[in-house]
């Protein structure tokens, strides 16, 4: 009875998925560029943010148009609400990717801490996998999966703590490298926050499926660890 509306809803979901896949890929690429000191790819990831921002706005406007034209209710309304929130989270995750790209350029030719080379890709891969699973939960309407993903953040947090301690030790031993340490700390923080944003996505997926919203993020790193 509402075939055209259903098609529009499917199109919105496909747009989210397409944008999410790109964000996933960029998370990996910017991290690899960071540890490999690849300025070219870092610059590409910075430039890609413009297109992500444009798509975030377009998907948001499409969702609003759908509300105006179709007056969705119940599950349809929750889906569109979730789309509007998730698209914002993806856009913010890409801001973090852009930030890591900028930091990579800021650091320039300076070699980075070996611990970063060793562990940052693992941290990024966990964050990427979390994002991938959260989008899978969105498409599959899989509440259980959406509720399982946040636990993976423990891996991200553990690596964050470890690398943060490494940065502090490095800065303490080489006070002339404070600025460099600060850049590394920002990159680390960006990566950690991207995983937190993914938890927000999971929260909206659970809401979309069940109609009940509850916070799963602990927001642990809104301030530096003590």
């Amino acid at each position: 009875m509402r075939q055209s509306f259903d098609r529009e809803l499917q199109r919105l979901q496909a747009e989210i998925l397409r944008m999410g896949s790109e964000v996933e890929e960029h998370l990996t690429r910017v991290t690899t560029a960071f540890v490999e000191r690849d300025a070219y790819t870092a610059a590409q990831m910075i430039a890609a943010d413009t297109s992500i921002n444009e798509r975030r706005i377009q998907i948001g406007l499409d969702a609003l148009t759908l509300i105006a034209k179709q007056q969705p209710l119940a599950g349809d309304l929750r889906l569109i609400g979730a789309v509007m929130e998730i698209v914002g989270e993806l856009e913010r995750i890409h801001d973090y990717i852009k930030g890591i790209g900028k930091i990579s350029l800021n650091i320039g030719a300076t070699p980075i801490l070996p611990a970063f080379v060793a562990h940052m890709p693992e941290m990024a891969e966990t964050a990427r996998e979390m994002l991938h699973l959260s989008l899978k939960a969105f498409v599959d309407r899989d509440r259980d999966l959406a509720q399982r993903v946040p636990a993976m953040d423990d891996v991200v947090d553990a690596l964050f703590n470890q690398l943060y301690a490494d940065i502090l030790a490095y800065a303490a031993n080489q006070p002339q490298a404070i600025s460099h340490s600060n850049q590394l700390e920002w990159a680390l923080h960006n990566l950690e926050r991207s995983a937190d944003r993914t938890i927000n996505i999971c929260e909206w997926v659970v809401y979309m499926v069940t109609g009940v919203y509850h916070e799963m993020s602990m927001g642990e790193y809104e301030a530096p660890p003590q």
Partner: protein, 267 residues
């Protein structure tokens, strides 16, 4: 067939149906309705055509009695008394449970007389000044006073559709009812008039309990505190599927059937 959330509010309740079954001849139009309506709240009755929601609405002031082949079983408790008891006068019930219909139906009399009539049949004892005050108050409460104050002695039929409907609401509240039953009160009106009626309903709930049958999902979502969803069973009898807070019913209905109906997948 499972009825969910029989009692969403916790009361107090203005009126209550218990095991209500209504027949037209041998056909059972609605079955096994158990519903209580909260005082000073607006409850929307929604459902596909033929699900019996208007029949249920009319049961609350015995309007179905006017249909010769209709028969009502069960109980409708109003102030603890079953309004279907043999010693209850349906006219008395209708004075306390007013009704507004889909199509505005002012009497072919003056605007003033349309409103005064309600008070007179309710045994109004005041003088002319008292009646003037009551007519003005009722018209003000129905948000139509400013439109008609300079033409109180013109025919009610001279007004626009939206004004006529508000006049009918003024007529209904002039009898000082406790409940107002509204059967698609805005379905014959343009969008602006519809919104004015919806705003009016919000104002009226301070003093009245309101039950409203509507086909307009957005109207039910906008205008009501509680929503009862009815559907037609395989035997074509209407039954209550879900009853809950409007916010919940329209964002996260408990029943898949409610979901399918309010999202336009059936009905």
């Amino acid at each position: 067939m499972t009825t969910l959330a029989h009692d969403p509010s916790g009361g107090p309740f203005a009126i209550e149906a218990q095991a209500l079954n209504i027949y037209y001849g041998s056909f059972r139009a609605v079955k096994d309705i158990n519903l209580r309506f909260s005082t000073h709240k607006i409850t929307a009755l929604i459902g596909p055509s033929g699900c019996g929601k208007s029949t249920v609405l009319r049961a609350f002031n015995r309007m179905n009695d006017l249909i010769p082949i209709s028969r009502t079983e069960g109980t409708v408790l109003f102030h603890g008394k079953n309004i279907y008891d043999a010693d209850v006068d349906p006219v008395q019930v209708r004075r306390r449970v007013g009704m507004v219909f889909q199509k505005p139906n002012p009497f072919p009399k003056t605007i003033y007389e349309n409103v005064a009539w309600g008070a007179r049949i309710n045994g109004f004892k005041g003088n002319k000044a008292d009646m003037d005050a009551l007519v003005e108050e009722s018209l003000r409460d129905a948000a139509v006073w400013d439109d008609v104050k300079d033409k109180l002695f013109q025919s009610g039929l001279s007004l626009s559709g939206g004004q006529q409907q508000r006049l009918c609401i003024a007529r209904a509240i002039a009898t000082r009812p406790e409940l107002i039953l509204m059967d698609e009160p805005a379905s014959a009106l343009d969008p602006i008039s519809t919104l004015r009626i919806e705003e009016l309903i919000q104002d009226l709930k301070k003093n009245y309990t309101i039950l409203i049958v509507t086909h307009n999902m957005q109207q039910a979502a906008r205008a009501s505190d509680y929503t009862a969803f009815f559907n037609m069973d395989t035997d074509r009898a209407g039954y209550l599927v879900e009853y809950g807070q409007t916010d919940q019913v329209f964002t996260s209905p408990k029943s898949e059937m409610t979901e399918q109906y309010i999202t336009g997948r059936f009905g």
